[in-house]
Amino acid sequence: MTEAVVTAAPPVVGRSLWGDAWARLKANRAAMVSLCYLVVMAAVCIAGPWFVPHTYTTIYSDYVRIPPSFSAYPKADMIQGALDDVLKRMRVDVKEWKQDGERVIVTVTSTRPVDERYLRYVDRSDTFDGARVEATSPDGLQMTFSAGVKQQYFLFGTDNVGRDLLSRTLMAGRISLAIGLLAGIVAVVIGVFYGSAAGFIGGKTDEVMMRIVDVLYSLPFIFFVIMLVVFFGRNFVLMFLAVGAVLWLDMARIVRGQALSIRRQEYVQAAEALGVGPRGILLRHVIPNLLGPVVIYMTLLVPHVIILESFLSFLGLGVQEPMTSWGVLISTGAKNIGSANWMLLFPAFFLVSTLFALNFVGDGLRDALDPKDR
C-alpha cells in the first residue's frame, strides 16, 4: 500500500554507500582521532623540516649526543669546554675570560704575537660567532677579543655525530610515510588490476595468473631484496619497487576472490542479460564494488610497508646516509640505548603512534564499509 506512491516531494539526491560509510566512520571516535592525528603527523613531517632551524645533515661537533632540552645550548659549563677547544687550535693560552650577556670576552696570551686571523677558528666553532678584536697589547703577545655565543635549541637532542634529532626525525617521517604511501599505491594498483582481471576472466587464464602469483610468493623476500641491491646498488626508488613488488601479491589474491564472488552476483548476471559487454561489467559493476575491501586493505597495507622498510633499513639494506627513515633512526637508537636513550625513544614514538593511528583508521574503515555486525 505504501509502496505504490512514494512521496511527491523532490528529495532527489540519495545517500550512497560511500556516504553511509563516511557517516559511520565519523561516529567512530577512535578512528576519527587517529585520522586527525595522521593528518597532523603528515603535515608536521612535510612542513616541519622547513621550520626547524637545523637541517638534517648539519653536524655540530660541539654537541655530540647531547640530551633533549627545552632550554638553549650551550649550557654555562659547556662554554668553558668549547673555549678550551678553540684556544687549543689557536695555540694560545687563556689569561682570563668572562661572560657578558650574549658575548664572551676573552683575554689570551702567547709566546709569539697573536695573529688576528686566528680568530677565524673562533667563528668556525659551533658555539661562537661574530668574533672581533677588542684590544691588543703593544707587544702583540696579548689580545682581548669578544665573541657572540650562538643559542641553539635541540628539542630532541642530537645523535652520534651531533646532528639535530628533531629535524632528522621529521625528515625520516617524510621518507617513511612516502614509502608507505607510494609502495602501498604501487601494490594496490598492480594488485587490483591483476586480481580483478584474473577473477573476472576466470577459467584457464585465472589458473595461470594465480599460479604465477604462487611462484612469486615462494621467493624469499629478503633474498629478493638483497639480489636487487646487489645488482642495482642501493637506491631509494628500488625500495618502492621491492616492497611494492612483494605486497601486490596479497592484494591480487584478495581482489581476485572478491571479483570471483562479484561475478556471480545477480546484478552482474542482470547486466549480462541486458547485453552489457565485459568492459562495461568490469568498469561499472566489478571495480566499484571491489573498492570497499581494497580501501580497507590499503590502510592496513601502509603500516605493513612502513614496518618492512624499517626492517630493511635496520638490516642496512634500505635508505642510506645521510638520508634517513624511522627504521634507520631506530636502528642507530637501539645501538645507543644505554648512553643516549632519546635516540631510540623519539623515532620509536613517532613510528609506533603512526602505525597505531593507521591501524585504528583501518579498523574503523572496515567497520564503516562492511557493517555486518549491525
Binding site: 540519495g14 545517500r15 546484478y267 542479460a273 547485453g275 562495461g280 561499472r284 566499484p288 549491525r374
Partner: protein
Amino acid sequence: MSTRETILDVKDLRVRFRTLDGTVEAVKGINIHVGAGETVAVVGESGSGKSQTMMAAMGLLASNGEASGIVNYRGQNLLALRKSELNRIRGRRISMIFQEPMTSLDPLYTVGNQLIEPIRRHRGLGAAEAHKEALNLLRLVHIPDPERRMKSYPYEMSGGQRQRVMIAMALANDPDILIADEPTTALDVTIQAQILTLLAELQQKLGMAIVFITHDLAIVRRFADRVYVMRSGEVVEEEETEALFAAPRHDYTRMLLAAEPTGTKQPPSPSAPILLEGRDVEVTFRIGGGFLAGEPMLLRAVDRISIQLRRRQTIGIVGESGSGKSTLGRALLKLLPSEGVIRFDQKDISHADRQAMRPLRRELQLVFQDPFGSLSPRMTVGQVVTEGLLVHEPQLTAKQRDERAVEALREVGLDPNARNRYPHEFSGGQRQRVAIARAMILKPKVVVLDEPTSALDRSVQKQIVDLLRRLQADYDLSYLFISHDLAVVRAMADYIVVMKQGKIVEEGPTEAIFGHPRDAYTQTLMAAAIDSKRFRADA
C-alpha cells in the same frame, strides 16, 4: 483457552535501535501473553517488529538495540535478569528455531556433536547417556537412519532435514516454550508442510507452547490457536484463529487476508505466433574434474525439455528448488550453454555467440528473484534502469536517458524523483519494481521472471503481480514465470509446466492442472500448497 496458565507475559515491550539517523523504535509498547501448551502466531510483514519482539524477550538484540518493559516468564522478568541467569532459562526453558537452516548449524561439527553438547551442558548427563538422548531426539523429529545421521555434517543434509535437526536441538532440554521464527520460509512447499506437521505432532506429544512468527497467514490458519497481527511495531489485532479468519476487525488484517493474488489469465489465441521455442533443451553441469581431479561428475540440470511460448502467453514453470526451472529459464535466454534447438522469432539462436546475442538481448529480458542481490549497490536507481540503454541505444544523450528513466519508473509505479537514490534506500517491493523497470525500459518481447515475488511480502506480491499483468496487457509481452508459489502461478499463468529433477512431469492449461493434477508429484505439490486442513497429528 483462557483457563490455561499464562507462562509468558509480555507487557508494554518497547525496542529501540540507535542508528546514525537517530533512534528508531521498532516495537512500540506491545502486550502478548502465551499460555502453557498453546500455539500463538505473531503475524506481520517484514519490518513490523515481530521478530524483534522475540529477540528482545530472549536478550538477543543487536548491539545497538535496547528493550524496555516487562517480559515475565513464570513470574521472572527476563529483561531484568543477568546474562548468566538468562542463560539458565533460554535454550533450556525457552528455545528458538530460526529461519535459515543453512546457516544456523555449525558446518564444522557433526550433527551428533551439536546435539550432544547442549544436552550435556544443561542436564549434566554423561557422554553415553547424552548420545542415547540425542539419538532419541533424531528419532523424534523423524530423521531417517538416525544412527548414521549422528555422524553426518550439516552440508550432507537437505534444508528440510537440517530444519529437523534444529528442531531436535531446540527440543533437547524439553522446553516450555518453543519460539519458531519463520521456520519454513526458506523451504519448499512440500517440505514446509512436513515440518509444520512435525511441529504440530511434537506439540501434541510434549505439550510445549509454540510462538510462531510468520508473514504467511495461510500457515497460521492451519496451525495456530490464537493470532497477534503486528504492524509497524504495534499489535493491531489479537484474536482466536477461527474468529480472526471469519471476521477480521482491523483494516490491516483484512488487507493481509485479501493479499492472496486472485484472478486468472486468459490464454492467448491459438493463432498467436510462437515467439520463443526450445526443443530438447539440455543443460549439463560439470562438477569437479580437471587436470589432477580425474573425470568430472556430470549433472543434468535440464533434461530434454521442449517448450513453446506464444505472444501474450504466460507459461508458469513450477517445481521445487533444484528441479532445474531457473536453469531452463536461463538456458532459453542463452545465458547458459545448452544443447538442443532454441528459436526466437523463427530464428535459430542455438549457436549464436555473445556477440550475435547482444542485439537480441533487448527483446529477451530477465527479472531475478532477489531484489537485494540483483541491483548493484554502488549505482543509483537511475543508472541501474538506464544501463541497458547504454548498450542498445548508445546514441541517446544523458538527458534523453534520464527522460526514459523517468518514464520507466513512472510506468512501474515509482516516484521518478527517487532516481538519484541508491537501491539500499528502498524496500524489497520497490527494488523489485526497479528491477522490472530495468527490463521494461528496453521494450522487450519476452521476459523470463525468475521467482519475482518469492522474496516479497504477500501484500507486495499482489501489487507486483498486478503490475506485471498490466505491463503484459499494455505491451503484448510474453512471460516465462518461474515460481514455487502455486498461488501466484495460478494468478499469473495460462499454461503450467511442472518440473522435477530436470524433467517435465506434467504440463497443461492452468485450470486443468489445478483442477485435475494427474501426476503424483503434482498432487503432492497441490496438497501442500492448497490444502486447508489443520496441521494436526491426529488429523
